[in-house]
Amino acid sequence: MPVTGRVVLDAGGGAPLLPAARTAFLAALDEGWADPRRLHSEGRRARALLDGAREAIAAAVGARTQEVDLAPSHTAALHAAVSTVALGRRRTGADVVASAVERAAVLNAADFAAARGGGARVTVPVDRTGSVDDEAFVAALARPGVALAALQHANGEVGTLQPVEVVHAAARAAGVPLLVDAGSSLGHVAVGDSWDVLAADPADWGGPPGVGVLVTRAGVRRSPDRPQDEDRWFPGGVAVPAALAAAVALEAALADRDEADAARRALVGRLRARVPERVPDVDVAGPDEHRLPHVLTFSCLYVDGEAIVTALDEAGFAVGSGSACTSSALEPSHVLAAMGVLTHGNVRLSLPRGTTAADVDRFADALPGVVGRVRQALGVGDL
Protein backbone atom coordinates (compact mmCIF):
# COMPACT_ATOMS: atom_id res chain seq x y z
CA MET A 1 0.00 0.00 0.00
CA PRO A 2 1.55 3.35 -0.93
CA VAL A 3 2.13 5.79 1.91
CA THR A 4 0.50 9.10 1.08
CA GLY A 5 0.07 10.90 4.43
CA ARG A 6 1.65 14.24 5.17
CA VAL A 7 4.90 14.24 7.11
CA VAL A 8 5.27 17.35 9.28
CA LEU A 9 8.91 18.05 10.11
CA ASP A 10 8.49 21.72 11.06
CA ALA A 11 7.28 21.69 14.67
CA GLY A 12 9.53 24.43 16.09
CA GLY A 13 7.33 27.05 17.78
CA GLY A 14 4.23 25.33 16.41
CA ALA A 15 3.99 21.62 17.14
CA PRO A 16 0.83 19.61 16.55
CA LEU A 17 -1.43 19.91 19.63
CA LEU A 18 -0.93 16.98 22.05
CA PRO A 19 -4.17 15.00 22.63
CA ALA A 20 -4.13 15.75 26.40
CA ALA A 21 -3.84 19.46 25.63
CA ARG A 22 -6.79 19.34 23.27
CA THR A 23 -8.92 17.60 25.91
CA ALA A 24 -7.90 20.14 28.56
CA PHE A 25 -8.58 23.07 26.22
CA LEU A 26 -12.09 21.85 25.45
CA ALA A 27 -12.84 21.12 29.11
CA ALA A 28 -11.63 24.60 30.06
CA LEU A 29 -13.95 26.15 27.47
CA ASP A 30 -16.82 24.60 29.44
CA GLU A 31 -15.47 25.05 32.96
CA GLY A 32 -13.34 28.15 32.66
CA TRP A 33 -15.13 30.38 30.20
CA ALA A 34 -15.73 33.19 32.70
CA ASP A 35 -13.51 36.22 33.36
CA PRO A 36 -11.10 35.11 36.11
CA ARG A 37 -11.19 38.62 37.59
CA ARG A 38 -14.86 38.29 38.57
CA LEU A 39 -15.85 37.36 42.11
CA HIS A 40 -18.76 35.05 41.33
CA SER A 41 -18.49 31.27 41.33
CA GLU A 42 -17.96 31.05 37.57
CA GLY A 43 -15.20 33.65 37.70
CA ARG A 44 -13.55 31.95 40.65
CA ARG A 45 -13.65 28.62 38.84
CA ALA A 46 -11.81 30.18 35.89
CA ARG A 47 -9.32 31.76 38.31
CA ALA A 48 -8.70 28.39 39.93
CA LEU A 49 -7.93 26.82 36.55
CA LEU A 50 -5.57 29.69 35.69
CA ASP A 51 -3.79 29.45 39.05
CA GLY A 52 -3.57 25.68 38.66
CA ALA A 53 -1.91 26.15 35.28
CA ARG A 54 0.67 28.56 36.75
CA GLU A 55 1.31 26.20 39.64
CA ALA A 56 1.89 23.23 37.33
CA ILE A 57 4.23 25.24 35.11
CA ALA A 58 6.10 26.51 38.16
CA ALA A 59 6.56 22.96 39.43
CA ALA A 60 7.79 21.84 36.01
CA VAL A 61 10.56 24.46 35.86
CA GLY A 62 11.45 24.43 39.57
CA ALA A 63 10.01 27.82 40.47
CA ARG A 64 7.40 29.26 42.79
CA THR A 65 3.92 29.92 41.43
CA GLN A 66 4.16 33.68 42.00
CA GLU A 67 7.30 33.76 39.85
CA VAL A 68 5.34 32.56 36.80
CA ASP A 69 3.62 35.07 34.50
CA LEU A 70 1.64 34.03 31.46
CA ALA A 71 2.01 36.09 28.30
CA PRO A 72 -0.06 36.23 25.10
CA SER A 73 2.82 34.74 23.08
CA HIS A 74 6.47 33.69 23.32
CA THR A 75 7.45 36.88 21.50
CA ALA A 76 5.52 39.01 24.01
CA ALA A 77 7.19 37.15 26.90
CA LEU A 78 10.66 37.79 25.48
CA HIS A 79 9.94 41.44 24.72
CA ALA A 80 8.61 42.01 28.23
CA ALA A 81 11.49 40.14 29.86
CA VAL A 82 14.10 42.31 28.18
CA SER A 83 12.30 45.65 28.43
CA THR A 84 11.01 45.35 32.02
CA VAL A 85 14.32 44.10 33.45
CA ALA A 86 16.23 46.77 31.52
CA LEU A 87 13.89 49.40 32.93
CA GLY A 88 14.16 48.00 36.44
CA ARG A 89 17.95 48.17 36.30
CA ARG A 90 18.25 51.50 34.49
CA ARG A 91 20.32 52.98 37.33
CA THR A 92 22.94 50.26 36.87
CA GLY A 93 23.20 50.57 33.12
CA ALA A 94 21.46 50.30 29.79
CA ASP A 95 23.58 47.81 27.84
CA VAL A 96 22.12 44.43 26.92
CA VAL A 97 24.48 41.52 26.24
CA ALA A 98 23.12 38.85 23.88
CA SER A 99 24.49 36.04 21.75
CA ALA A 100 24.39 36.59 17.99
CA VAL A 101 21.99 33.64 17.60
CA GLU A 102 19.24 34.69 20.01
CA ARG A 103 15.71 34.70 18.63
CA ALA A 104 14.89 37.87 16.66
CA ALA A 105 12.43 38.84 19.43
CA VAL A 106 15.31 38.99 21.94
CA LEU A 107 17.66 40.90 19.63
CA ASN A 108 14.96 43.39 18.65
CA ALA A 109 13.92 43.87 22.28
CA ALA A 110 17.57 44.33 23.25
CA ASP A 111 17.98 47.05 20.62
CA PHE A 112 14.75 48.69 21.77
CA ALA A 113 15.55 48.60 25.49
CA ALA A 114 19.18 49.63 25.07
CA ALA A 115 18.28 52.56 22.82
CA ARG A 116 15.58 53.70 25.25
CA GLY A 117 18.11 53.85 28.07
CA GLY A 118 20.96 55.33 26.03
CA GLY A 119 22.94 52.07 25.97
CA ALA A 120 23.84 49.54 23.31
CA ARG A 121 23.30 45.90 22.46
CA VAL A 122 26.56 43.97 22.91
CA THR A 123 26.44 40.98 20.55
CA VAL A 124 28.63 37.99 21.34
CA PRO A 125 29.68 35.82 18.38
CA VAL A 126 29.28 32.06 17.95
CA ASP A 127 31.50 29.43 16.39
CA ARG A 128 30.75 27.32 13.29
CA THR A 129 28.54 24.98 15.35
CA GLY A 130 26.48 27.87 16.74
CA SER A 131 27.92 27.67 20.25
CA VAL A 132 28.47 31.07 21.84
CA ASP A 133 31.99 32.17 22.78
CA ASP A 134 31.53 31.80 26.54
CA GLU A 135 34.72 33.68 27.44
CA ALA A 136 33.66 36.65 25.34
CA PHE A 137 30.16 36.47 26.80
CA VAL A 138 31.48 36.44 30.36
CA ALA A 139 33.84 39.33 29.61
CA ALA A 140 30.99 41.34 28.08
CA LEU A 141 28.63 40.90 31.01
CA ALA A 142 31.31 41.73 33.57
CA ARG A 143 31.82 45.21 32.14
CA PRO A 144 30.08 48.10 33.92
CA GLY A 145 26.75 49.38 32.65
CA VAL A 146 25.06 46.07 31.78
CA ALA A 147 21.32 45.95 32.55
CA LEU A 148 20.87 42.28 31.61
CA ALA A 149 22.27 39.47 29.52
CA ALA A 150 20.36 37.03 27.31
CA LEU A 151 21.54 33.56 26.33
CA GLN A 152 19.20 30.93 24.89
CA HIS A 153 19.21 27.46 26.41
CA ALA A 154 19.46 25.99 22.92
CA ASN A 155 19.14 27.34 19.42
CA GLY A 156 15.86 26.32 17.81
CA GLU A 157 17.15 26.66 14.23
CA VAL A 158 20.26 24.50 14.46
CA GLY A 159 19.85 22.68 17.79
CA THR A 160 23.04 23.85 19.53
CA LEU A 161 22.91 23.73 23.36
CA GLN A 162 24.53 26.83 24.85
CA PRO A 163 26.91 26.98 27.86
CA VAL A 164 24.27 28.48 30.17
CA GLU A 165 25.78 27.04 33.38
CA VAL A 166 29.14 28.77 33.05
CA VAL A 167 27.55 31.98 31.78
CA HIS A 168 24.98 32.02 34.60
CA ALA A 169 27.67 31.53 37.23
CA ALA A 170 29.57 34.51 35.82
CA ALA A 171 26.41 36.59 35.54
CA ARG A 172 25.59 35.88 39.17
CA ALA A 173 29.11 36.90 40.20
CA ALA A 174 28.73 40.13 38.22
CA GLY A 175 25.26 40.79 39.65
CA VAL A 176 23.71 40.82 36.16
CA PRO A 177 20.40 38.98 35.64
CA LEU A 178 20.49 36.33 32.90
CA LEU A 179 17.49 35.79 30.64
CA VAL A 180 17.44 32.25 29.27
CA ASP A 181 15.17 31.63 26.28
CA ALA A 182 14.13 28.00 26.64
CA GLY A 183 11.57 28.35 23.87
CA SER A 184 13.07 25.46 21.91
CA SER A 185 14.19 23.38 24.91
CA LEU A 186 11.47 23.08 27.52
CA GLY A 187 9.54 19.86 27.02
CA HIS A 188 12.40 18.36 24.97
CA VAL A 189 15.49 18.43 27.23
CA ALA A 190 16.22 19.26 30.88
CA VAL A 191 16.42 23.04 31.17
CA GLY A 192 18.12 23.15 34.59
CA ASP A 193 18.23 26.11 36.91
CA SER A 194 20.96 28.28 35.39
CA TRP A 195 18.73 31.28 34.81
CA ASP A 196 17.26 34.32 36.55
CA VAL A 197 14.53 34.91 34.00
CA LEU A 198 13.22 32.02 31.90
CA ALA A 199 10.99 32.21 28.84
CA ALA A 200 9.31 29.20 27.27
CA ASP A 201 6.89 28.52 24.44
CA PRO A 202 3.90 26.19 24.94
CA ALA A 203 3.24 25.96 21.20
CA ASP A 204 6.70 24.39 20.86
CA TRP A 205 5.98 21.50 23.27
CA GLY A 206 2.55 20.65 21.91
CA GLY A 207 0.41 23.18 23.74
CA PRO A 208 -1.91 25.63 22.02
CA PRO A 209 -0.88 28.91 20.40
CA GLY A 210 -1.81 32.15 22.12
CA VAL A 211 0.10 31.76 25.37
CA GLY A 212 3.70 32.26 26.49
CA VAL A 213 5.55 31.61 29.75
CA LEU A 214 7.83 33.99 31.62
CA VAL A 215 9.38 33.01 34.95
CA THR A 216 11.21 35.66 36.97
CA ARG A 217 13.15 34.69 40.09
CA ALA A 218 12.30 36.67 43.19
CA GLY A 219 14.97 39.33 43.57
CA VAL A 220 15.29 40.19 39.87
CA ARG A 221 14.47 43.87 39.68
CA ARG A 222 12.01 44.81 36.94
CA SER A 223 9.64 47.70 36.28
CA PRO A 224 6.43 47.58 34.25
CA ASP A 225 6.56 49.67 31.10
CA ARG A 226 2.90 49.34 30.13
CA PRO A 227 -0.19 51.17 31.35
CA GLN A 228 -1.37 50.02 34.78
CA ASP A 229 -3.48 46.86 34.82
CA GLU A 230 -4.46 44.14 37.26
CA ASP A 231 -2.21 41.84 35.22
CA ARG A 232 0.85 43.94 35.78
CA TRP A 233 3.31 42.38 33.34
CA PHE A 234 0.91 41.36 30.58
CA PRO A 235 -2.06 43.72 30.68
CA GLY A 236 -5.36 41.97 30.01
CA GLY A 237 -4.12 38.54 31.03
CA VAL A 238 -4.37 35.39 28.93
CA ALA A 239 -7.10 33.00 27.82
CA VAL A 240 -7.80 30.46 30.56
CA PRO A 241 -8.27 27.49 28.15
CA ALA A 242 -4.92 28.23 26.50
CA ALA A 243 -3.18 28.48 29.87
CA LEU A 244 -4.64 25.22 31.14
CA ALA A 245 -3.89 23.36 27.91
CA ALA A 246 -0.31 24.69 27.96
CA ALA A 247 0.22 23.34 31.48
CA VAL A 248 -1.35 19.96 30.69
CA ALA A 249 0.73 19.68 27.52
CA LEU A 250 3.89 20.43 29.49
CA GLU A 251 3.13 17.69 32.01
CA ALA A 252 2.49 15.25 29.15
CA ALA A 253 5.67 16.33 27.35
CA LEU A 254 7.78 15.96 30.49
CA ALA A 255 6.27 12.58 31.31
CA ASP A 256 7.69 11.06 28.12
CA ARG A 257 10.55 13.49 27.59
CA ASP A 258 13.34 10.96 27.85
CA GLU A 259 11.64 8.49 25.51
CA ALA A 260 10.82 11.22 23.02
CA ASP A 261 14.42 12.44 23.28
CA ALA A 262 15.93 9.02 22.58
CA ALA A 263 13.55 8.29 19.69
CA ARG A 264 13.97 11.63 17.94
CA ARG A 265 17.72 11.87 18.63
CA ALA A 266 18.16 8.56 16.83
CA LEU A 267 16.05 9.69 13.87
CA VAL A 268 17.90 13.02 13.56
CA GLY A 269 21.20 11.15 13.86
CA ARG A 270 20.12 8.92 10.99
CA LEU A 271 19.25 11.96 8.85
CA ARG A 272 22.50 13.74 9.76
CA ALA A 273 24.36 10.78 8.31
CA ARG A 274 22.12 10.06 5.34
CA VAL A 275 21.48 13.52 3.93
CA PRO A 276 25.12 14.31 3.04
CA GLU A 277 25.58 10.72 1.82
CA ARG A 278 22.71 10.95 -0.61
CA VAL A 279 22.73 14.61 -1.65
CA PRO A 280 25.93 16.09 -3.02
CA ASP A 281 27.12 19.51 -1.86
CA VAL A 282 25.21 19.81 1.41
CA ASP A 283 26.34 21.93 4.36
CA VAL A 284 24.97 20.36 7.57
CA ALA A 285 24.70 22.88 10.42
CA GLY A 286 25.05 22.46 14.16
CA PRO A 287 27.03 20.08 16.37
CA ASP A 288 26.87 16.27 16.26
CA GLU A 289 26.63 16.09 20.04
CA HIS A 290 25.39 18.50 22.67
CA ARG A 291 22.31 19.44 20.71
CA LEU A 292 18.53 19.36 20.89
CA PRO A 293 17.23 15.89 20.02
CA HIS A 294 14.73 16.92 17.35
CA VAL A 295 16.31 19.68 15.26
CA LEU A 296 18.34 19.38 12.05
CA THR A 297 19.29 22.07 9.56
CA PHE A 298 21.20 21.74 6.29
CA SER A 299 21.77 23.83 3.18
CA CYS A 300 21.98 22.63 -0.41
CA LEU A 301 24.46 24.44 -2.63
CA TYR A 302 23.05 26.27 -5.69
CA VAL A 303 19.45 25.72 -4.58
CA ASP A 304 16.79 28.36 -4.05
CA GLY A 305 15.26 28.00 -0.56
CA GLU A 306 11.73 28.77 -1.67
CA ALA A 307 11.96 26.25 -4.51
CA ILE A 308 13.08 23.41 -2.22
CA VAL A 309 10.44 24.14 0.45
CA THR A 310 7.74 24.22 -2.23
CA ALA A 311 8.99 21.07 -3.93
CA LEU A 312 9.17 19.17 -0.62
CA ASP A 313 5.67 20.39 0.23
CA GLU A 314 4.38 18.99 -3.05
CA ALA A 315 6.12 15.71 -2.21
CA GLY A 316 4.26 15.57 1.13
CA PHE A 317 6.75 17.11 3.57
CA ALA A 318 6.32 20.26 5.66
CA VAL A 319 9.75 21.75 6.36
CA GLY A 320 11.09 25.15 7.39
CA SER A 321 13.88 27.25 5.91
CA GLY A 322 16.22 30.03 6.97
CA SER A 323 16.96 31.17 3.43
CA ALA A 324 16.30 34.81 2.58
CA CYS A 325 14.19 33.90 -0.41
CA THR A 326 11.66 32.08 1.84
CA SER A 327 10.76 35.10 3.97
CA SER A 328 9.55 38.59 3.26
CA ALA A 329 12.92 39.82 4.52
CA LEU A 330 15.82 40.12 2.15
CA GLU A 331 18.18 39.03 4.90
CA PRO A 332 18.84 35.33 5.40
CA SER A 333 18.66 33.68 8.86
CA HIS A 334 20.90 35.64 11.25
CA VAL A 335 21.70 32.32 12.93
CA LEU A 336 23.14 30.72 9.79
CA ALA A 337 24.95 33.99 8.98
CA ALA A 338 26.52 34.18 12.46
CA MET A 339 27.71 30.57 12.10
CA GLY A 340 29.04 31.00 8.55
CA VAL A 341 26.77 28.24 7.24
CA LEU A 342 25.55 28.44 3.65
CA THR A 343 22.26 30.38 3.80
CA HIS A 344 20.68 29.52 0.48
CA GLY A 345 18.94 26.21 -0.19
CA ASN A 346 18.31 25.88 3.53
CA VAL A 347 16.06 23.19 4.99
CA ARG A 348 15.17 23.34 8.66
CA LEU A 349 13.68 20.26 10.33
CA SER A 350 12.09 20.13 13.76
CA LEU A 351 10.60 16.70 14.42
CA PRO A 352 7.37 16.61 16.42
CA ARG A 353 6.89 13.88 19.03
CA GLY A 354 5.71 10.70 17.41
CA THR A 355 7.72 11.12 14.21
CA THR A 356 8.44 7.59 13.01
CA ALA A 357 11.40 5.94 11.37
CA ALA A 358 9.16 5.44 8.32
CA ASP A 359 8.53 9.22 8.14
CA VAL A 360 12.24 9.97 8.28
CA ASP A 361 13.11 7.26 5.77
CA ARG A 362 10.51 8.58 3.35
CA PHE A 363 12.07 12.01 3.66
CA ALA A 364 15.59 10.67 3.15
CA ASP A 365 14.38 8.74 0.09
CA ALA A 366 12.57 11.73 -1.44
CA LEU A 367 15.18 14.42 -0.78
CA PRO A 368 17.84 13.51 -3.39
CA GLY A 369 15.28 13.56 -6.19
CA VAL A 370 13.74 16.83 -5.03
CA VAL A 371 17.11 18.59 -4.75
CA GLY A 372 18.20 17.10 -8.06
CA ARG A 373 15.11 18.41 -9.86
CA VAL A 374 15.51 21.90 -8.36
CA ARG A 375 19.15 21.96 -9.41
CA GLN A 376 18.25 20.75 -12.89
CA ALA A 377 15.61 23.50 -13.23
CA LEU A 378 18.26 26.07 -12.29
CA GLY A 379 20.71 24.54 -14.78
CA VAL A 380 23.41 23.97 -12.16
CA GLY A 381 23.85 20.21 -12.56
CA ASP A 382 27.37 20.72 -13.95
CA LEU A 383 28.63 22.90 -11.12
Binding site: P280, D281, D283, S299, L301, Y302, V303, D304, G305, S323, A324, C325, L330, E331, P332, L336, A337, G340, V341, L342, T343, H344, G345, L378, V380, D382, L383
Partner: protein
Amino acid sequence: MVDARGLLCPAPIIRLARAARTLPAGTVVTVLATDPAAAVDVPAWARMRGHTVVETRRETTEDGDHLAVAVLLGSSAGTGQVS
Protein backbone atom coordinates in the same frame (compact mmCIF):
# COMPACT_ATOMS: atom_id res chain seq x y z
CA MET B 1 35.58 39.56 -12.06
CA VAL B 2 32.00 38.32 -11.63
CA ASP B 3 29.41 41.08 -11.49
CA ALA B 4 26.39 39.67 -9.59
CA ARG B 5 25.06 43.03 -8.40
CA GLY B 6 21.27 43.07 -8.31
CA LEU B 7 20.97 39.27 -8.29
CA LEU B 8 19.41 37.41 -5.36
CA CYS B 9 20.54 34.16 -3.73
CA PRO B 10 21.58 31.68 -4.98
CA ALA B 11 22.27 33.42 -8.33
CA PRO B 12 25.51 35.21 -7.28
CA ILE B 13 27.02 31.90 -6.11
CA ILE B 14 25.93 30.15 -9.30
CA ARG B 15 27.62 32.88 -11.40
CA LEU B 16 30.75 32.61 -9.32
CA ALA B 17 30.82 28.81 -9.57
CA ARG B 18 30.39 29.03 -13.37
CA ALA B 19 33.34 31.38 -13.61
CA ALA B 20 35.45 29.16 -11.33
CA ARG B 21 34.77 26.19 -13.57
CA THR B 22 36.58 27.82 -16.48
CA LEU B 23 39.53 29.26 -14.55
CA PRO B 24 42.68 27.44 -13.44
CA ALA B 25 43.57 26.81 -9.81
CA GLY B 26 45.56 29.67 -8.36
CA THR B 27 43.45 32.34 -10.06
CA VAL B 28 41.95 35.06 -7.89
CA VAL B 29 38.38 35.81 -8.93
CA THR B 30 36.45 38.75 -7.46
CA VAL B 31 32.67 38.69 -7.16
CA LEU B 32 30.59 41.85 -6.74
CA ALA B 33 27.22 41.41 -5.05
CA THR B 34 24.43 43.46 -3.48
CA ASP B 35 22.52 40.46 -2.09
CA PRO B 36 23.09 40.41 1.70
CA ALA B 37 23.28 36.61 1.65
CA ALA B 38 26.46 36.79 -0.44
CA ALA B 39 28.50 37.98 2.55
CA VAL B 40 27.95 34.55 4.11
CA ASP B 41 27.43 32.39 1.06
CA VAL B 42 30.61 33.27 -0.84
CA PRO B 43 32.86 32.18 2.07
CA ALA B 44 30.64 29.11 2.71
CA TRP B 45 30.85 28.10 -0.97
CA ALA B 46 34.63 28.62 -0.91
CA ARG B 47 34.94 26.42 2.19
CA MET B 48 32.80 23.67 0.61
CA ARG B 49 34.77 23.81 -2.65
CA GLY B 50 38.28 24.11 -1.25
CA HIS B 51 38.82 27.73 -2.29
CA THR B 52 40.10 30.55 -0.07
CA VAL B 53 38.62 33.99 0.52
CA VAL B 54 41.54 36.41 0.40
CA GLU B 55 39.76 39.74 0.74
CA THR B 56 36.29 41.06 1.55
CA ARG B 57 35.47 44.75 1.25
CA ARG B 58 32.52 47.12 0.88
CA GLU B 59 32.71 49.37 -2.16
CA THR B 60 30.66 52.40 -3.10
CA THR B 61 29.99 53.52 -6.65
CA GLU B 62 27.46 55.89 -8.17
CA ASP B 63 25.12 52.85 -8.37
CA GLY B 64 25.27 52.34 -4.58
CA ASP B 65 27.06 50.00 -2.17
CA HIS B 66 28.11 46.47 -2.93
CA LEU B 67 30.28 43.76 -1.50
CA ALA B 68 33.47 42.68 -3.27
CA VAL B 69 34.91 39.29 -2.31
CA ALA B 70 38.16 38.02 -3.77
CA VAL B 71 38.52 34.23 -3.86
CA LEU B 72 41.72 32.30 -4.54
CA LEU B 73 40.65 29.21 -6.46
CA GLY B 74 41.80 25.84 -5.20
CA SER B 75 42.30 22.56 -7.02
CA SER B 76 38.59 22.03 -7.76
CA ALA B 77 38.66 25.00 -10.17
CA GLY B 78 38.57 24.39 -13.91
CA THR B 79 37.25 20.85 -13.52
CA GLY B 80 33.56 21.27 -12.82
CA GLN B 81 31.99 19.01 -10.21
CA VAL B 82 34.38 17.63 -7.65
CA SER B 83 32.98 15.14 -5.21
